[in-house]
Amino acid sequence: MKTKATPAIKLDSLAEVNDLGKPWRYEEDGLTVTRSSIWTPPGCHPVGCGLKLYVDKSGRLVRVEGDENHPVTQGRLCPRCIAMKDYVYNPSRVKRPLKRDPKDRGQADKWVECSWEEALDLIEKEYKRITGQYGRESMIIFVGTGREGGTLLPYATMSFCTPNFCYSQSGYACYTPRLAACAYITGIPYPELDYAAGLPGRYDDPQYEVPEVIMLWGKEPLPSNPDGFFGHAVTDLMKRGARLISVDPRVTWLSAHADYHLRLRPGTDTALGLAMIDTIIKEELYDKDFVEYWCYGFEALAERAATMPAERAAEICGIDANYIKAAARMYANAKPAGILWGLAVDQKKNGMQNGQVIVDLMAITGNIDRPGGQVVGDINSGLNEGGFGFDKGIGPELGAKMIGIKEYPGYCNLILNAQADLALVALETDKPYPVRMGMYTGNNLMACTSGEPRRWHDAILRSLEFCIGVDCFITPSIQASCDVFLPLATVVERDGCLFAEYGAAPLYFGACNKAIDPDGTKSDLQIAFELGKRLNPHMWEDYNDVYDFINDLRLGKKFTFDELHKEVTLQQDISYFKYERGDLRRDGGLGFNTPSGRIELYCGAYAQFGDDPLPYYEEPPFSPVSTPELMADYPFVLTTGARTYAFFHSEHRQIPYLRELNPDPIVEVNPDVALRLGIADGQWCEVYNMFGSAVLKAKITQAVDKNTIHAQHGWWFPELNPNDVEKDGPYHTFRSNINNLNPNGYQGKIGFGAPYKCMICNIKPVEKSYDTNMADVWAKFGKLV
């Protein structure tokens, strides 16, 4: 294990006058500069980008710059961290705890400032009252992505000791279905494209090979830095000769630069994957040795794939059969080749099978655990955090009450979360039991993650007697439904740790170093610690302060924060072909950590959880094929949620420099469709289906084809009315929320996957303009405090 940071490689564009080799903290021109490897807030995936934070004598952050000492980002930075000051000192940020009478929910002027002591007293009183009456399972914690608290299981297992930690997106349609597919098929947490992140020499390291081909599957890594992957590693590799295959319904910059762009109908990915497997097997392009020695169930997979020849997939996906075959050949012939598989994989009912065909493609081509293919961790890598505190804080009896654990054990046991769709039902019906207390941490479900957000809104207001919001800003969800607000510290106001890609692949980890005073705000870890000490002190006896907790939870006591923070970023040790040495199995045996010891192309775990052990294609629940009768009313396939550089999900709308990049919610419409329907470029349109409607601003573009509409997600308008008004909701969030059109209850058989990227809809122009007044946004949020 490395204990000293390796010097970063200088980019050619960096001047000779630079800060390479500077310590973690230094002085420059009267300013104190702190180097940090940051993760959230502002919300983002754990890439841990390197930042230099410049603080003046008065303690104010006056400048942010990318740190050229970071081994992966090398000084580069995206717009969202460039605008860090505008987030930290935003006039709409709230830095004091607030409370509000539950009868005044939704009314912005009814919040009353209070002390931390008062807020925690109130939480303690309500927690004791509610859990005393209904049991600890009556508390639900809504979590999300991109915030430390959003994945902080100890909030549930140690602070509140409730089994109902809940990511509130139908079918947990984000990342975890892919993790589940990997875990069940290979026993590996997540095979990431190998971009040499852990190697000291990076792309020129002698251990590394540049992939000949990168296949991007349902992923736009450049704006999203998905799950902690540094997106622009793809352009680094393109410059070094990597060629691309893109599987995406939309024309993106990457797909336009790909050798093959498989522009499929949204939601049909599994058919395409099966056809590629079939082509590779029939043409004997697979890695015969790897399949013979390290895979299980190849014949069964071959037989299954043969039911989906390219000619059949061509009809389903809307791509020429020869084009599919040619792309499959290119991927199979390339050595090494890596797949970057993304959110679109999860966002379909058929998502677990989509994940399955992708892992099978990686396996039969022998690209798993190979330099420049898919990089994987050994049995000792990864986080210490899975299930942290669960046995002691919750235990088997209370754990058995987790919402959905009987119906969806493959979901609930894997991620230790209440199943999202059934949690909504519980909030609506009190079945299987009443849920009366709630908390949002890293979650803004009414504006962002949840399908049918009004339904969630009504269920939460109906069900919860007391609700806590933890955030930097008053979000629409907090405005609508919370009774106490706890102000969260940003990443420049606290110490902490981050593991790239949550530690699911061996890359690097780093220290989030505090640069300025938190000014009354606290970190998620601090809040969890203080709440826990009050509510369930037996869980926190080992910890005297939050650093003890960080060292145990994040660093597994192998390391201390004190040792880490001066190094800022440490690359992890990477090795390859570990299955040949017994490093992937707990018992030390050769092969993989699965029941057969091999990669299970025929997957017993899928069967155990009630699904088919082999991949199969299933039409989306609403589509031109499965619901032809609806196509007269809703003739377009709706795909949602493509990422932007300006925002992380529902965050950043109050940052003028970022909002200016994307002032209004955009719906992409093909030029032919726009002509036919009389939609002008920039005209506001109503997008609607049988579940609901939203108004968005049309962008006429060939990025989508004539059958497809794409709409952005996560919209609310911090400059507009904060009150929960009937039609539009707080900050007008329901007006333009595309999730009004996305349902709950259409998850896959194991409980994972939901059709967020493959619904149907119609669109019509409206007369009214809802254009954002940027002068108003600038006037409200431009002057920092």
């Binding site: 980019l11 050619d12 564009s13 960096l14 001047a15 000779e16 006058v17 630079n18 942010v64 710059e65 990318g66 050229e68 090398q74 000084g75 580069r76 930075l77 995206c78 717009p79 460039i82 605008a83 000051k85 450049l222 704006p223 997106g231 622009h232 352009t235 680094d236 393109m238 410059k239 024309v251 910059w253 990457l254 797909s255 336009a256 630069h257 093959y260 762009h261 084009y323 550089y645 300006a646 003028p656 420099y657 970022l658 200016e660 990049l661 573009t701 060939q702 990025a703 940027m774 002068a775 946004v777 600038w778 431009g782």
Partner: protein
Amino acid sequence: MTPTWQMSGRNSESWCSMTAYGLLIDYEYCTGCQVCEVTCKEEHEYPVGKWGIRVFEDGPWQIEEHRFNFNKIPVPTDLCDLCLARTSIGREPICVHHCLANVMNYGPVEELAKKLNNKSKQVLWVPQFKPYEARGPFVHDPAKGRRKAAHLEVTKNESAERMAAQRGDNRVEEI
């Protein structure tokens, strides 16, 4: 203190003799992340609506089946001063520092021009901060327009009076 636009001004006497600096951009790999736009605004405190560099997008439009044109090209504006405050102490402009795709290079135009020869899909910009101001205040050249008006007597023109009288309208007396 000399305003930056004068120091980099093209109309200054020394323009031809001084080294011109520019931005070489490899737009084959520019992904359009817009970090150059935002970091420039932070660096110069340009408000909403003002920019030192902009990313223009050409596409996607279809060239033929399976092939689209989709290029992103950063263009410095009239508010780009090539980060004089940074470059004067030997650092690179802030857009170059943060460029996610690492496609921007700063340097003397002469050196960058040689690099232009190395690969296709590059563009070399030589920006001018506030080009109108850079021309300097208007100063009349005393060497020009020196001809003085001649001092000669002019007499009354009777033929012009006759021309008015010959007009056919009845308001001639008013002329």
